[in-house]
Symmetry: C2
Subunit: 313 residues, 2 copies
C-alpha cells in the first residue's frame, strides 16, 4: 500500500467560515499562498455561496482569479448549487466540492432539503463538472454522527458513497462534521466501504471536538485511507458546540503521518509559517498542538545544518 498521503487544507474555507473574525479576500489569499508555498497538494480556497448567508466567503471569485496559475497545489471551491457552480466556472476553478448528507435532520436544518434533494442538486452539478473536465469532490457530512439524529447507520453512508462513485466522483470524503467519531467506529465504517470500493477514491475529514481527531486519522490511515482533510492551525469550530476545538490541525496530521513513515510532500518549515499566519490573521486560531515542539525541532535541525555547513567549508 502506498506511503504517499494527500492532504487537503480546508482552513481557508471550512476553517475561516467557523471563525468569528471575517478576513478580507486579500488576507485569505495570503493564507492560501502560504499553504501553497508549503506544498500542500490540495487547498479548499473558499465557497461560491450567497454573500448574505456567509459573509466570511465574500470575494471567493476574486481570490480564485488571483491564484498563481503555475502553483503545484490544486485549488478546490465549495459549490452549494448550480448558480454557485456557474460563478465558480466563470472565476476559473479546476475542482469543485459539494456537500451530501448522511442524516435527514442535518440536510433539512442545513439546506432545507431532504437527503435525496441535496443529492439531486449535486448530481446535476457533477454532470456539468464532468463535462467541463473539472475534478469533483463530494463530502458526505455527518457520516459518523449527527447532532440531531445521533450515530449514523454505516449502510446509509455506504449507499450515498456507492451512488457518487458510480457517478464518477473523483473522491468521496467521509466527514465527521461535528467531531463525534471514535477510532473504532472509523475503522468499522472504512472497512465496510473499502471492501466494495477500495481506498483510492475515499477520503476522511475529522474534527477535534472530542479530542479524537488525530486518533481517528490514525485509525483511517491504518484502514487504507490515503487522503485527509485538515485545517491549518486547527482553524474552525463546531456550530453545535460553541467554543469547542475545531478541525484537526494540518500540522498535527502531517507530524504524525511523517513520523510514521508516510510522505505528505509538505515542507514543515513553510507549514509553520502558514500556521503562524493563520494565528496572526484570525487572532483566535489555536495552532496545532505539536507546534511548540515542531518549531523547536526545526530550529535545532537548521542549527545542525548550519554547523555542518561551516564544518565542510
Amino acid at each position: 500500500m502506498s506511503d504517499r498521503v494527500i492532504i487537503t487544507d480546508v482552513g481557508p474555507r471550512d476553517g475561516l467560515q467557523n471563525q468569528q473574525k471575517i478576513l478580507s479576500p486579500s488576507e485569505r489569499l495570503r493564507l492560501i499562498n502560504a499553504l501553497s508555498k508549503a506544498g500542500v497538494p490540495v487547498i479548499e480556497v473558499g465557497s461560491f455561496v450567497s454573500p448574505k448567508a456567509v459573509p466570511a466567503m465574500v470575494g471567493t471569485d476574486e481570490i480564485v482569479g488571483s491564484l498563481t496559475a503555475d502553483s503545484k497545489s490544486l485549488y478546490t471551491a465549495l459549490i452549494p448549487n448550480m448558480k454557485g457552480y456557474e460563478l465558480a466556472v466563470k472565476a476559473g476553478v479546476k475542482s469543485v466540492t459539494m456537500v451530501l448528507y448522511a442524516s435527514e435532520s442535518m440536510a433539512q436544518k442545513n439546506v432545507n432539503m431532504s437527503m435525496l434533494q441535496a443529492e439531486d442538486v449535486t448530481v446535476d452539478i457533477l454532470r456539468c463538472a464532468k463535462q467541463d473536465e473539472l475534478e469533483v469532490i463530494t463530502i458526505v457530512s455527518v457520516a459518523f454522527g449527527c447532532p440531531f439524529d445521533g450515530p449514523i447507520d454505516p449502510s446509509v453512508v455506504a449507499q450515498v458513497t456507492g451512488k457518487f462513485l458510480a457517478l464518477d466522483a473523483d473522491r468521496v470524503v467521509l466527514a465527521d462534521t461535528i467531531g463525534a467519531a471514535n477510532p473504532l467506529q472509523v475503522r468499522e465504517l472504512i472497512t465496510k466501504l473499502t471492501k466494495t470500493h477500495g481506498t483510492e477514491k475515499l477520503g476522511c475529514h475529522f474534527h477535534d471536538t472530542r479530542a479524537m481527531g488525530v486518533a481517528n486519522v490514525f485509525a483511517a490511515v491504518e484502514s487504507g485511507i490515503r487522503h485527509f482533510d485538515a485545517s491549518i492551525a486547527g482553524l474552525g469550530g463546531c456550530p453545535f458546540a460553541p467554543g469547542a476545538t475545531g478541525n484537526v490541525a494540518t500540522e498535527d496530521v502531517v507530524m504524525m503521518l511523517e513520523q510514521m513513515g508516510f510522505d505528505t510532500g509538505i515542507d514543515l518549515n513553510d507549514l509553520m509559517a502558514a500556521s503562524d499566519l493563520a494565528v496572526q490573521l484570525t487572532g483566535t486560531a489555536p495552532g496545532g498542538r505539536s507546534k511548540v515542539w515542531l518549531k523547536r525541532y526545526l530550529a535545532e535541525q537548521a542549527e545542525r545544518e548550519t554547523t555542518a555547513q561551516y564544518a565542510i567549508n
Copy 2:
C-alpha cells in the same frame, strides 16, 4: 478481552511537578480528593524526594497522612531511593512507584546513575515493598524515545520489563516521557512485549508533546493494554520542550475509552469538577480538549433527566 480500563491520574505528581506554580499541600490534597470523588481508581499523590530538589512536592507525607482511609482510590507515591521509601512507609502509603530507564543518557542526566544502577536501587526498594505488602509500580521512562539518544530499541525495553515482572512488580508502565512515540511504534512495542508477558501487568503513559497522545492510547488499548496513566486537565509539560503540551488529559482519555465502549468507572461530572479545580489552582493547566463539548453534553443530559423527572412526577 476485558472492557474495564484502569486509569491512574498522575496529575498531582507528574503534572504538578512540571507546572510553574507551586501549590501548597492543602491545595494538592483538594485536587487529589476531587479525583477520588470522581472515582479515579489510582492516583499518584506526590513523591518522597528532597524538598530542595523538587519544591513542588514538599509535604507529600502530610498529604498522605490526610487522605481519606475509606476512599476507593488507591494512592501511590513516587519513590526515588531507600530514604524516600522509608519516609513513604512512615507516612502510610500502600503503593509505591519507581522509575527505571530505557536509555543510558537519560539515566545519567536524570539521576546521575547508569541504567543498571537505577535498576539496582529499584530492586532493593521493590524487595522491601513486597515484604511490607505494598503494591509496586515500575515506570520504564523514555521507553519510546529519548531526547539524547533518539528512538529506543524495543529489546532494551523488553529486557527491563521482563526483569521487573520476574521480580514480581505489580505493574510495568511503558512511559513516553517526552511524547515522542507514534501509534505504529506503540503497537509494535506492545505486541512484542505482550507475546511474552501478556497484557495484565503492563500499563502505558503518554504525553501529548507531538499531538499523538490520544492516538497512542488508542493504539495501546487496541493492542490489549488496559491500564493508562493520564493527567487531569492535561497538567504537565516536557522539560525538553518548554511550553509544549503536557501529559495526555484524563478527560480526553476517559472520553474516548467510554465512547468506544470501555468502562473506566469514572463519573464524568465529577471529573469535570476536578479538571476545573486543576485549572483554577494552577492558572496554567490547559484542560482537556474535549472539555467544552463534554460539559455541554453533560449539561444537556442533566436537563433531559430533570425534564424526565418532572414528567414522571
